[in-house]
Symmetry: D2
Subunit: 137 residues, 4 copies
């Protein structure tokens, strides 16, 4: 599990005075980026090597709202890995009292840069589950 | 079922050259706005009368990508209505060939303007299911 | 001058209860897209033919706020055209009372798809100023 | 001058493969938030005490693009302070080679929470220019 701090931006709030529900999906994406960096193979490099992890499913439950300037923590982990898909799970908490704000998950399919489905390359799969990193030790 | 046309904006695309997955949730929201207007009680008026329909759950499946300047159609309907929640369902299609791009649903809880959960007022419930409109006829 | 209708989305509002100031720049972009379509050479085709009009300057003055669900009109025109740049100007008005909300302009440089500055192709320049369309008549 | 680190999010890129030009204005806003925090009076508290600093003017020049996952530094300062307005200036640089990507400025008018123009309260003015902090020393 990889933790990433996020501070709610004014632009992310809406007329209800709280963070808009789409902001959490952007923060999940930031969480994924940091997860892959922590695992030793940043998503930027995954893309540069010709693999995209395209979002094919999103699911999200909102428990409590977040407000402008609050510091949140996104906890990101990989829950399922198949030949061609990976499922990330997320929890977003308010940092100061650890209240759980939102839980969610995203499923991604591997494609080449032309958008055609393919298997997840072994080096990517290994880094996503942390087995790649362990092997190095 | 209420249909709303959307044209993909450049700002909604990402470095994959396709509409970012969060754009669909914004389009769902546009679909809801138009659904409530078509049912005779625009969401703006619902809020002004002291009821908010806060997003508590989102789920979304992505089948095909959308690209800049394509015209899409969001079909919005109410699937479930309980005392305190309403569930909307959406389908997003490319207009020119009717390809199904994305399906999703959102669950909303009714709150007052202070964010406290409450029952959905009868006039709002009636308009959401169309029974309010029929009564007028 | 080309007019485009925009309805303010909930996602475009912020905690002040008004449209966030960045939303207008997105609407300018929508205005440009519709301007180029009205002139007979949609920006999508400009890009497909290998020319990008990259934003190099933005300037914007905000007079009055816009609110959720209001219908706005973006008026877009080309103010200056040089060999390698084009300047668009915009006015955003509230539709129902024609109040001027925001004025702005954007300067764009022509580049190839690799991002290298180049001259604006003659067919693009002609369509931007409407001289291309006139020639057809 | 207050420096703030920003990492470019995937959601902030567009189909050109670079950060969308509106992203910089959001980063300016983050820069302002951090500027006010560094000066001892976070903007959140300014708003809570009944003063809003509404954007009335934006201007921005784009020199070089930013890409997904790059770390940028936003340098924020107050350039002009009048009775009822404050002008912030910004420079955005790529962190690793200090290349200047974007320069900009925003002008803000003070209003009460109802949106009516007012003078900037003395405590806010002092914190914006740093004279408040110095006084404490």
């Amino acid at each position: 599990m990889v933790s990433t701090e996020i501070r709610v931006r004014y632009a992310e709030t809406d007329a209800m005075g709280i963070a808009h529900h789409t902001a959490y999906l952007v923060w999940f994406e930031v969480g994924r980026t940091e997860y892959t960096r922590a695992m030793g193979l940043p998503y930027r490099q995954v893309e540069q090597s010709g693999t995209r992890l395209v979002v094919v499913e999103v699911s999200c439950r909102y428990h409590q709202p977040a407000r402008y300037d609050e510091v949140l923590v996104v906890q990101t982990t990989v829950r399922v890995l198949t030949r061609a898909t990976v499922t990330f799970a997320y929890e977003v908490r308010r940092q100061d009292d650890q209240t759980l704000l939102v839980e969610g998950s995203t499923v991604h399919a591997a494609t080449d840069s032309g958008g055609h489905v393919k298997r997840i390359p072994e080096v990517v799969a290994a880094s996503l589950t942390g087995t790649g990193r362990k092997t190095k030790g």
